[in-house]
Symmetry: C2
């Protein structure tokens, strides 16, 4: 069944109808000032991909040196970031897109005075298991 998730947030607090909170572990020292929403997921019947939104407060960062078998499709929605990929760093801003391939160490760091937000697409986990490509 198809579903609509109307935006119900404000520019300073993005949110949507009927979405899940992304479970960031309380006290996780590997990220700072990061929160997330799972917008499109198996909850909608989606079996191939998941669309998530992450927000990182100024000076914060997503999980440091994150490293796993799935890849990421990222579109920056607001604010500015340094994307760390392996030993490289790239500065990105609104509408910039980033592809992070499997098993590349990566994290995003919010830079500037504004919170940074990005859309992050991943493949569905069950699908990776079917393909024999599931890992950490």
């Amino acid at each position: 069944m198809s579903t609509i998730h109307h935006f119900r947030g404000t520019e300073s607090a993005w949110d949507w109808e009927n979405v899940l909170e992304y479970p960031i572990k309380p006290g996780d020292a590997n990220s700072k000032g990061a929160s997330g929403k799972i917008i499109i997921s198996p909850q909608d019947g989606a079996s191939h991909f998941v669309l998530r939104y992450f927000r990182v407060e100024p000076g914060g960062f997503s999980t440091l040196k994150d490293y796993h078998s799935h890849d990421h499709g990222v579109l920056i929605l607001h604010g500015r970031a340094i994307v760390h990929i392996g030993e490289k760093q790239f500065e990105v801003g609104p509408h910039d897109a980033v592809y992070i391939s499997p098993w590349e160490e990566h994290w995003l760091e919010a830079v500037g005075d504004e919170p940074m937000g990005f859309l992050c697409v991943i493949p569905n986990k069950d699908l990776l298991v079917k393909l024999g490509a599931a890992g950490k």
Copy 2:
């Protein structure tokens, strides 16, 4: 390998570095005023999903009654649209998200005076073939 596609367009003509034009057939009477860019794709080494951007001019629409085996994850980036799904219609605007499941007849129609643009995620075609889920 990971890749960056910096935005290089303007608010009235969205575009990115090193992306492909979406091949809309010239004279295709099933869509009107629609154009697209393939932002993240197998060209980047992405084997699970594809991120595309579509722009529809005021009064235009994407392929009418489109119908296929793959699903869509949509995020409206600018402008307003009526999303037609089966017999239903939903009005959507910036940041609204839509999941369109496989084999549901659908199209997006730009409404209002502004061009409408949306991000559209699909699974990689080769992956659907592997899963035995490829179709039209």
